[in-house]
Amino acid sequence: MTVTYYPAAPTHVPEDLILDFDFFDMPADVSDPVQIWHGLIQKGAPPIFYTPRNGGHWVFLRYADIAEAYRNHEIFSTHKAQIPPLEPYPVLQPNGVDPPQHDVFRKLLAPMFTPLAVRRMTDGLQSRAERLISGFAGNGGCDFVHDYAAKFPTGTFLELFGLPEERLPEFLRISDTFFRSTDPDVRAANLLEIYEVLEELFREKERNPGTDIASTVVQSRDADGNPFPWTDIINCGFLLFVAGLDTVTNTMTYVWRYLATSADARQKFRDRLDDPSAFLLAIEELMRINAVSNIYRRVTHDCEFKGVQFRRNDRVVLPNTVANRDPRTFSDPQTIDLDRKVNNHVTFGLGPHRCIGSHLAKREIMISLQEWLRQIPEFELDPDQDAESVFGGPVMGFTSLKLRW
């Protein structure tokens, strides 16, 4: 999507910190969306710079600054941080509120996403992976995005929310429109549809609660024993929908795209099929290299940060892919080292908003890859792939990835 809105940079931004950079826009020669970010480093962009595109926003390019922004909610708020600025925009629970209010929904969700809780989901994830992969393993090829990477997390979402598997096509359609459509009318209708679905879901779980996440959220009570505001409940469901589908889909797509081109990496993962902790360690490195999220913050008050003047309501983008390859933090950062010893990547963020679904996401990817390698040990990119499949924005990725074997 090319955004035509292009105001002049505000007066508090010095000329030498302004660059023309549109992170939604993918130039025709870009085959991997992270290229546009790493291109900035090659061009010698200032570590903190401003672009007038997409309503105007700052970009941080150093690991240390990005980490500090994640941790400093007094300056860098998640509340109303949309880029381009959108009003009204729902306050997603708990991501759209800062500590201490953030604690309320964060603590409510936390027990359902701990490593312990995720271990209990293993069997469900395993059988979903087996079913999906065996459905096309005999076909000699697939479109990985369409046939696997979109279906797996969406199916998982249905299961966690206590919804029947039959609704998968409906949810795939809704989420595809939500994440990929650029038509304002289609988007508006889609948003209404999502809210209707969530409304109906939570009402049903209120009447007939189960042990699923939606039931737990709707039955929760605040410190005084009262139910939470209905909009907060809906917007918590909405966040889980927004946060846990496209991120997993595109991370998986990145991982499989890399493995399709590296016989050595496939071999290393196959060698670790019987050693889950070594397998997970190697996954961690693929998480570092394939950081799909660019995170937004809003500056809460006029202030100086790292010698740069910020004004209240300035927007900031934190590109995790750039932090994860900062040579000040990582040795040999552009090399994919599946045995990397120290790996403090920020793919799942840092600080209070650290991805609550990170353990689930890693488990989804790990189980999928283990099962895939058992059924399809060797695979490669299909030369029929059309080139037009990349997109940028808050979550970067591919609309299609054709593989063959």
Binding site: L116, V346, R354
Partner: protein, 68 residues
């Protein structure tokens, strides 16, 4: 040797648990670190040090000597 955690800093990445489950686990409520074996044996030192260096929040620290 002892390892200590700053729970205010811990955000539950569970990297410590992944790297050295003998010493670290995470709780069932918030998913924050639980130190199962604060005074760990010397044969685990390398693993514990690795876990400490891999805590993205810098919430873990090795303290010399026994319980203060």
């Amino acid at each position: 040797m002892r390892v200590v955690a700053n729970l205010a800093q811990c955000q539950g990445h569970a990297r410590c648990e992944d790297l050295c489950p003998e010493v670290f686990s995470t709780d069932a409520i918030e998913g924050k670190v639980v130190i199962e074996q604060p005074e760990f044996p010397p044969e685990l030192e390398e693993k514990v040090r690795l876990a400490v260096r891999n805590c993205p929040e810098g919430a873990l620290r090795i303290a010399k000597g026994a319980v203060a």
